[in-house]
Symmetry: C2
Subunit: 334 residues, 2 copies
């Protein structure tokens, strides 16, 4: 196997995917640092407000050589920036820094990564995808102005897939579809492990609207909350022509939640970040409106309901992770 720019960028991309969607309103970004051929750090941005991928990786790389540095105690992004600018001592001059997205050039909740890199003067910065966000972009220019060598477009297709969910969200309503199933496509009954369920609850905490079919409410009576992680409960959109539901089920009793019962999908556009939880029949109805699909696969075979009407869709697998024993597959339509 070739150990080249593609190899190191793949490590950065894979690391970033572990936090896909959990970083909102920031994009998922990964960063790898190689110092004179030595792989020192594989890190990602994990949550909005916390350090960016580059900062996490720069910290890990520095600590790799200076394990007892006071930097170890610093968690706050601004503190790490300050420390590195004052104490780098040219440590990064022979480093190659792989980052999945152009380093940000603007001071938001955390200081700009491009400014930090400019000070640290690495040997080369390798970028998968340019930032098209007008506010944050300009990082490449900042680095080029300092005569830092830049390589852009490494694993660009994979880098674009990584950022697809974020781009779908950035300027419009992002709508994604979640299905949980067994290996053979059965979707009924309890499918996911508890860790898989906790992941779904983490997603519910990030979205602002959850869409679900009326029959699921009638048959399964789900609460659709975030109790596994004690997060925020999203509003619920019950997609149904028939407006009659038993209002005594827990779904309707959950605090701080609006429940909409409607068959007018146009109302989804009142929200910014929408997850549809359903099975293949609902997917077939809504497929024109979704940006990507999350398939959670439990490694079981069991007899059950699966695709039962005329469905024919081709996908590209954007990425796959494991959540405990379950698989998480990110798909986009071809």
């Amino acid at each position: 196997m070739k150990i080249d720019d593609n190899f190191y960028m793949k490590l950065a991309i894979d690391e970033a995917w572990k936090y896909q969607l959990l970083t909102y309103p920031n994009p998922a970004v990964g960063c790898v640092i190689v110092k004179d051929g030595k792989l020192l750090a594989i890190e990602a941005h994990k949550e909005a407000g916390q350090a960016h991928a580059e900062v996490n990786a720069l910290k890990a790389a520095f600590l790799n050589y200076n394990p007892n540095s006071v930097l170890k105690t610093k968690q706050n992004s601004e503190d790490i920036h300050d420390f590195l600018i004052k104490n780098h001592n040219n440590f990064f001059n022979d480093c190659e820094i792989y980052v999945t997205l152009e380093p940000c050039n603007h001071i938001g909740k955390t200081p700009a990564c491009a400014n930090l890199l400019k000070e640290l003067k690495p040997k080369r910065v390798i970028i998968s995808v340019k930032d098209t966000n007008n506010i944050a972009s300009g990082g490449i220019e900042t680095l080029l102005n300092e005569n830092i060598k830049i390589t852009v477009g490494v694993l660009e297709n994979e880098g674009n897939n990584l950022i697809l969910p974020f781009l779908s969200w950035q300027n419009k309503t992002s709508i994604f579809f979640k299905i949980a199933q067994t290996l053979n496509g059965a979707t009924n009954g309890k499918i996911s492990s508890n860790r898989g369920l906790a992941y779904v609850h983490a997603l519910r905490d990030k979205i602002d609207l959850l869409v679900i079919g009326g029959n699921t409410i009638r048959i399964d009576k789900p609460t659709l909350d975030t109790r596994y992680i004690q997060g925020n409960n999203p509003d619920i959109f019950i997609y149904s022509k028939n407006k009659i539901f038993d209002k005594n089920i827990p779904l309707f009793k959950t605090a701080n939640r609006k429940v909409i019962i409607s068959d007018d999908l146009f109302k989804l556009l009142d929200y910014k970040f929408v997850m549809i939880e359903g099975t293949y029949n609902l997917l077939e109805k809504l497929k024109q409106r979704i940006d990507f699909i999350i398939l959670i696969i439990s490694p079981k075979i069991k007899n059950g309901d699966n695709a039962s009407n005329e469905i024919n869709m081709d996908f590209e697998i954007m990425h796959e992770n494991y959540i405990g024993e379950d698989k998480i597959v990110f798909l986009k339509r071809k």
Copy 2:
């Protein structure tokens, strides 16, 4: 992400899985070489008679520093051994060598890896799984006698999964089950891409018996040959109570092949390496007899036949690869 022994061993294991089953009668083995912190080689054993994983990795590592060495021209395992023993010039003294299986200690089609490593005196050899094969084992002892530092048991569960297919084959008849399906579990019609089919043909070339259900023969009339790769055609076992088939279909006309029509599974034990190609119904019938399962998943959703009788099986996913756009999932029963 921690960059430690587990990280490097995972690279070796993943590389080895790419050649799983294709190395028979040898096990799938991977090897990674890190020189003073620099990742120099990620290699695997690819085919019986060709160089072992360690030899491929030692060659790649040496060429990484000496790209114009005449070693580049050497393909034969014995020639690479000879060259490295004469020309290593202590290059490997600061190398850590990660290998998924204890280095072989016996001279078979190629010279013993343990003897080579003994001469090259690496700083440390890290091994996932000990070799239980009486003929090839003893590598650890050989290295310890030379005072080479050894670490054993890194990612042992993953290392054991990697070698499970080989161990199932070593002392008995190995029987594995292959299913091709879409994401939603549909198994009828043309499922796999041409690259997926070529992979199946490569498996057919390695096995000596292919088992298939009688109904598949009656309905699909498959040839079950290896035309995509022009390999050897395995014998066929048609699992059927009803012995009447149309003998004019190509399956029966393929040269150098025996076709058995029987419902006596005991006859499988006359063979050494058996693949069953079928769907979930056949899997349910034969599940007690199989060592592992290969699931080929095409990233499509389509309406179709899938599990239709009482099936309930739990699996561990041992590994996954891509073959073109299709996924190859290796499962074992829990």
